[in-house]
Amino acid sequence: MMHEFAIVWAHKDRLLVGFGNTVVLSLLATAAALTLASPIAIALMSHRRPVRALARGLVDGMRCIPFLLLAYIVYYALPTLAIRLDNWTAGLCALVIYNAAYMAEILRGAWASLPREHVEAGLAFGFSGLKLYRRIILPPIVLACMPVLGNQMIQIIKDSAFLTIIAVPELTHEASAIQSTYYVPFAAFISAVLLYWVLCRLVEISVGAVERRARARR
């Protein structure tokens, strides 16, 4: 057993590269998904029924597709429509689109429970359109749903492991490569699990810190 871990330790550079890629992929996907979630949430709250229906269709559609299947579609099926993406870009796009739908629904829920008075004060003081959303609506709803958004970021980290099937060199991919070369599945995968755990704990701690700041505003 210790011998297996010694082999993994000897290839720690490879595992750390995979870990670094998972971190970069997750951070980029979270930032992009949250950014994309905003217009979707605005569309979900629109007074125009067709706009609302379109956004609802997108969100419900994403929530009903397994992430693995979406990754396959983006990487393997889109080239038949002449859209060819490298594995990194395809993996990132799949993560962003999939999680943006979830985040949009989270934002919509928080927005719907935002007291009407705050928005009304924004309107009364001359805010409108995107400025109203960005300055008056978005900050309190992000603070209000920070724990749920944190959970979604953890989900992104875990979803990123699926990208091994399109050969994105993230943590699971590298752990899998080490185990298949040296046949050390237990040590390789347990090491990967520990690194995922560290990453998720870091997210939880950060979200906790933001949550404490949010509490000061309530």
Binding site: A121, L123, A124, R135, L143
Partner: protein, 280 residues
């Protein structure tokens, strides 16, 4: 040879110069089948304090909310410094949200439940709209906001979030937030109704000071003492109609209508409670 000044201020025609800051002309508003406002008209001159009195459900708050188009009147015209609110000049087409926003930025509003933005500090609440709506320089806005905090005696709460303030402090901050916009007219929608009785006085004191300073104000209130002392004119509303318009001394001493007399009798037992608290 006399030297011409580099910049000359354009002269307004006498009529325009004397035009009221706020003119409400024949406003009607229905919610479903219920007539909330029926042919309401009033005008407010620069520096005037107009108090709108009336029983609950008489349409006072709706009238105020029509002024900055938070409620859209069904009929009638509202003018702010001669500019019609809600409709474009010449074409008479409805204003876009951005155009309405520009008008609203000139009308300060103080809400019954304060409506401070909870994610911003006290200072943040004061500077948010002047910086992001009026696009004024941050340094200038912060300096002005700090002076306003001095005026309402809340400088030490500059970096505190609204959740940590008392009701009276929140409402004073809400007043300062409205003043930070340098509004043409300040609207108060029952600004003391949500406060504990012992906190009413501190808010009324700020409002009375503003009235003395010549701020143009329209105040919906149940504080008869304030209305009597600070108002230049009382507008009494009942069932969505203007029943009586009179200077405060005439309205409170010799109301012309039976409805106003009935209304005042209900307050007769403690007509100056708010001011008594403030002065005590």
């Amino acid at each position: 040879m006399p030297v011409e000044p580099a910049v000359t201020r354009p002269r307004l025609p006498a009529e325009a110069a004397e035009r009221p800051v706020l003119e409400i002309d024949g406003i009607w508003k229905k919610f479903g089948e219920h007539d909330v406002l029926t042919d309401v008209s009033l005008s407010v001159q620069r520096g005037q304090t107009v108090c709108i009195l009336g029983p609950s459900g008489s349409g006072k708050s709706t009238l105020l909310r029509c002024v900055n188009w938070l409620e859209r009147p069904d009929h009638g015209h509202i003018y702010l410094s001669g500019q019609r609110i809600g409709f474009r000049p010449v074409t008479d087409l409805p204003m876009s949200q951005a155009e309405l926003a520009q008008i609203r930025a000139r009308v300060g509003m103080v809400f019954q439940h304060f409506n401070l933005w909870p994610h911003l500090t006290v200072l943040g609440n004061l500077i948010e709209a002047p910086i992001y709506v009026q696009r004024r320089p941050r340094d200038e806005v912060v300096a002005e906001a700090e002076a306003l905090l001095d005026k309402i005696d809340l400088r030490e709460k500059r970096d505190v979030y609204p959740a940590r303030l008392s009701g009276g402090q929140k409402q004073r901050v809400a007043i300062a937030r409205a003043l930070a916009m340098r509004p043409s007219v300040l609207l108060f929608d029952e600004a003391t109704s949500a406060l504990d009785p012992e906190l009413v006085g501190e808010v009324l004191a700020v409002m009375e000071e503003l009235a003395q300073d010549g701020m143009t104000m329209v105040v919906v209130t149940h504080e008869m003492g304030f209305a009597r002392d600070a108002a230049d004119e009382i507008v009494f509303l009942d069932h969505g109609r203007v029943v009586e318009v009179a200077p405060p001394d005439k309205f409170f001493e010799t109301p012309k209508t039976e409805r106003a007399r009935q209304f005042l009798q209900r307050y007769a037992s403690a007509p100056r409670a708010g001011l008594a608290r403030r002065r005590g």
